[in-house]
């Protein structure tokens, strides 16, 4: 190692690293110990400072430990509270047979006429942006249901059909694992939800959605001024920079539960009907509890005609399509 000339700078490098030893003053080096100088005093002072340092360190370790314990307790309490609330929610959501419902949708493609009424109903219900010609040209207008043209076979033996495509509410959703802030999650009743005030807009969930059925707000929505009365007060308006998607109209579930409670009767699965199901003129969309073996959806979901999109990925969608093939 290189040695450099000590030019007598009083500030020692190693003092900064809290490893200081009693500093040897110049008198110690020049004089013999027996002569006695203020050096011994200096040494004592350094010793005191050292023990003080030790005390500080111990104090610091103690404080740090206490802080960690406090943080740990808080986090644990929050977890407990979350578990409690989810338990409550699942109790709250008990169906008539005493089980937690698993909401699912069945779309009968043999009945679907591709009229687009579901798209309109959904847009009105969920306060979608109106969009304009420019946005439409850039395909930046958000609609939670899209009619996806599916072309099967090869020319000339092709068969084309329109597939009403909405969030598949996967039972094993890939989008929720990658969200860094848990803004998207699956609730105890199987609805995949999105917390708008928490979303940071990283678009990771959209990238991990095999169906590409989540939407990002590229800009702020534009609404006519003054805002017409047709707007739904139960659904939040989404602003720029966040991700949104079909919620299975979960605000309708809350309203149905409250209504049943107010009327003093038990909540039935039939009380909860999303807007698209209600609007479908061909009655091609069914909605209900997949956990109830007697429900229409669960019977249809097990029918011969049933299939799921990209089933091989194992996402287990809760939107099931029916088709004669």
């Amino acid at each position: 190692m290189m040695q450099q000339k000590n030019n007598g700078v009083a500030f020692e490098f190693d003092e900064l690293l809290f490893v200081s030893k009693p500093k040897r003053t110049s008198c110690c080096m020049s004089q013999t110990q027996t002569q006695g100088c203020e050096c011994s005093q200096a040494q004592e002072a350094v010793e005191n400072a050292k023990s003080e340092g030790g005390w500080l360190r111990r104090k610091f370790v103690g404080l740090f430990g206490a802080l960690m314990a406090a943080v740990g307790t808080l986090m644990f309490k929050r977890k407990l509270a979350a578990a409690e609330s989810s338990k409550k929610a699942s109790q709250h959501g008990e169906g008539k047979n005493g089980h937690t419902p698993k909401w699912g949708m069945v779309i009968d493609l043999d009945k679907c006429t591709g009229c687009g009424a579901c798209v309109v109903a959904c847009s009105v219900e969920n306060n979608m942006m109106l969009g304009n010609a420019q946005l439409a040209e850039q395909s930046r207008v958000i609609r939670w249901i899209h009619l996806l043209p599916m072309i099967e076979g090869e020319y000339p033996n092709i068969k084309a059909r329109l597939l009403p495509m909405l969030c598949q509410h996967c039972d094993d959703p890939p989008c929720i694992y990658v969200c860094p802030v848990s803004a998207t999650y699956k609730d105890p009743e199987g609805l995949v939800a999105q917390i708008y005030p928490r979303c940071i807009g990283c678009r990771y969930c959209v990238n991990n959605c095999p169906y590409t059925i989540k939407y990002f707000n590229w800009s702020d929505p534009e609404f006519p001024q003054p805002i017409p009365k047709g707007f739904n007060p139960d659904v939040a308006v989404r602003y720029k920079g966040i991700v949104e998607k079909c919620t299975f109209c979960h605000h309708r579930l809350q309203i149905a539960r409250e209504k049943a409670k107010a009327e003093g009767r038990e909540f039935k699965a039939e009380d909860y009907v999303p807007a698209c199901v209600e609007a479908c003129p061909a009655k091609a969309i069914y909605f209900g509890d997949l956990n109830d073996p007697e429900s229409e959806v669960s019977k249809l979901a097990h029918s011969r005609r049933a299939f799921k999109l990209l089933e091989e990925l194992g996402t287990d969608p809760k939107v099931i399509y029916l088709s004669e093939g």
Partner: protein, 461 residues
Amino acid sequence: MHKHESVVNANNATNADEEIRALEEQLETDVLRPLVTKPSREYYLICGFLAAVFLFALFAWSTQLWNGLIVTGLNAPVFWGVYIVNFVFFIGISHAGTLISSILRIANVEWRRPFTRMAEAVTVFSLPFGALCPIVDMGRPDRVFMIIKHPHGTSPILWDIICISTYLTTSCFYFYLSLIPDLATARDRLKNAHPFKLWLYKTLSLGWTGTERQWRILDTIMTVMSVLLFIIVISVHTNVSFVFAVTFKPGWHTTILPPFFVLGAIFSGIATVIVVMAAVRKYFGLERWVTDWHFDRIAAFLLALTCFWFYAMFVEHLLTIYLHEPAEMRIILERFVGRFSLMFWVMFALCFIVPLPILAVRKWRTIPNLVIVSLLINVGMWLERYVIIVPSNLNTLLPWGTFHYFPSWVEIAITAGWFSGFILLLLLFARFFPTIAIWEVKEGLHAAYKPRQPVFVKSES
């Protein structure tokens, strides 16, 4: 072992000591000269231009913050574009610094010595821009602290934030530690420098006097941190690759991606260090300390990395082709013969076909060629990230249609601005701090005179 060996007269110890002292004196004078000489007019012009580009990028970002990401070329299903390409690129080149200064320091590789300082500078200056890229990409950058408030353990973005912030802190600290002895040298030698600079050196050198004890402490910390950084550096780019590798996307979901990303990061990082060091050597006249031999060695290292890069590329594509899964094949065809074929083959040429002969044939391995090849490799590696990220985004699993992506002026301006900011920081650094680790080169001089005995060699008796 070392170029300076030729001047060694091992038989005469006192003579050797004097020679070392003279060499050290010369080294200090050469390295510290740019700190006191007045920069040329071109230097100010270039700095002004880079600063203007950077400020324009900030303006572009502000328009994006005001209007939303509608001002970018991004649109469903291309949710990630040039910003994420830049993110991977900047984090990539930051790996060189640590590789040279930590891994090569542990391995005690002799040719690393004049490169360490600027390599670490590349790390420290490229990392902030890399870390900024995902924040620019976010829809709501104001909510970035939500990640700390509501952390979700399964998300690679959270791991990235932990890794990159650890890496940034550690490498800044490491960079600063290795600067301390040189700052003390500057403080002691540059008595006629600008008072601000003198104050800077005096404050930052923390009263370093170069006692045996100080050296021991510094050496211990540097060794421990080298090992620590070695682990962190692998984890950083592994996690950057996890952002892609854990998803469903064909073309992203491969197990080779993490090691390939680490390799690519080191590859582009070494190339960046070569360019930076060649510039420093030319403009500051440091040919005596960064010799052709040093460049020859780092070129050989770059050659090895080129071969490794080809190997990883070959394995990734060969196995995917054998799998023959339709969705994966769409991406492969997109790269080989489709819309990205031009970009892919240009990238392949820049990263492998051109560098391989130039680096392998001794006759062609000259410094200007090496600089050109290094620049080409960096362009190629940027294109590689683009070819990895964008085609997988464009090709959806369901037939949503055909999409196109081209970055808008905002994305291009921000990209240009981040590159300018990076170069600007390097230029400023070169005028304020020693560009070569004086103490480390001195150590090399001593080692050349008195070779260290390997501890594991058995004694003959």
